[in-house]
Assembly symmetry: none
Homo-oligomer: 237 residues x 2
DNA sequence: TCGCGTTTGTAACGGCGTGTAACAACGGGT
DNA sequence: ACCCGTTGTTACACGCCGTTACAAACGCGA
């Protein structure tokens, strides 16, 4: 854990703090958790961080104030964690000085993606092999994540919202079997109930668009009794 | 509300004063309201403010006069509230030494943004790397935030107030899905009720102006069951 | 190898979310 | 007062996607 990128989580809620720590460590980051602004000061004095994940709503000094303080003294990348609704709306479009924010309840994937993006912007040297680039190439296709568009050469392949969400998840988990339950969770945030065929149908529709020969799928293989697997090599740019 | 930044609102109209107080307190500022120049003097003697929000049009001593007086004695940041956005008012306001102005009727978000900007500027330590970029480029377009105008090359694309507000919010949140609720709140300050289609229609009208092919939108993507996403890369100047 | 139960592929249908034309209401400018 | 541009409302068309139904593919035991 020495050469790892270090993230300081500032979050008063024990449970959420632990969850964040777990999530981020799973991604290979070194993680410390501070439960207040003053704990944060101590932690930073002890060891500098590469990025700070900062909860807005905290007793005592709140996230806004901490963010402002940090900006006054340095430019440590900050990702804010805001409660749903009002807070978000207040931050959006305004120049708070944070580098990005994620709304609670947060989608773990989005959180990781945004942290990676901020790190990439602020530390150009760190190009995580596993990272979320903005253009992904596989087979003869290119998926542009920024614009949610898919290209085959210079021809665009139209994707619906559902097509894109599904393809996005698959492309980010190549050579790995994803169960229907996982796909359901990752694309729709719901869990899978027995006899639900919607994933199968969605996948069938996606194949029709991305497979050279939909009747002989090679990009997306079916793994009987397990789920589906994206088989192509995925590279950036 | 002790460590909070304090703002003194000088506004003769009770209703607008209360509205401003509410808006600003929601942002975490400490707010006092004075209803005339003399009330202002009393308030300032009692407790110094970090920023003054000053209505131009008032019976008795008007905002211009007050601004001039304040500048003669100190450099308290002042944001002027002008009745109409005529150029005369703007120039006078800035010549007088005000730090910024907002035209009535004001967009709450813009007001807050300008106050934040002035506060940040007035604390010289905080010179944000993202400076005062008032022109934003994306795709083949340039949005001038100061004048609220949009250009495609040297050709201007006419935007209504609503067009601009919506585009502004979108452009400030690229690669992020904004729900109808968020868009509603950010552009109109109201919350979204089920079956309200006004955002959809506003967005459709905006697309007609900014998309190369409105029937195949690429700048503003629809994310089904979630909202809309601005997909272009936005850069300053 | 065959047969049968289970799993998967996909066509077809329909509910519903979204796009947008048309109309109404509103407001600022003259 | 009128005009005209803007914005909200309504209505309808269309495409997406969940459900259903049935066919095809698979796997396991005989």
């Amino acid at each position: 854990m020495n050469g790892a990128i270090s993230i300081l989580v500032v979050e008063d809620d024990r449970e959420i703090g632990a969850l964040l720590k777990m999530l981020l460590e799973r991604e290979g980051y070194g993680v410390s958790v501070a439960r207040s602004g003053s704990e944060m000061d101590v932690a930073l004095a002890d060891k500098p961080a590469d990025l700070m994940l900062l909860d807005v709503m905290m007793p005592g000094e709140d996230g806004f104030s901490i963010c402002r303080r940090m900006r006054a003294t340095g430019n440590l990348p900050i990702v804010m964690l805001t409660a749903r609704g009002d807070d978000i709306d207040r931050i959006i479009g305004l120049e708070l000085g944070a580098d990005d924010y994620v709304a609670k309840p947060f989608n773990p994937r989005e959180l990781i993606a945004r942290i990676r993006a901020v790190l990439r912007r602020s530390v150009p040297a760190i190009t995580d092999a596993n990272g979320s680039g903005t253009r992904l190439r596989f087979d003869r296709l290119v998926l542009d994540v920024d614009s949610r568009r898919l290209f085959e050469g210079d021809r665009e392949i139209e994707l619906s919202t559902g097509d894109y969400d599904l393809l996005y998840v698959l492309v980010h988990n190549p050579q790995r079997v994803l169960s229907r339950d996982q796909l359901m969770d990752l694309t729709r945030g719901r869990s899978w109930e027995a006899f639900d065929r919607s994933i199968d149908v969605a996948l069938s529709r996606l194949r029709r668009k991305v497979e050279a020969d939909p009747s002989q799928p090679v990009l997306i293989k079916t793994v009987r009794n397990a789920g589906y697997m994206f088989t192509a090599i995925v590279s950036k740019v």
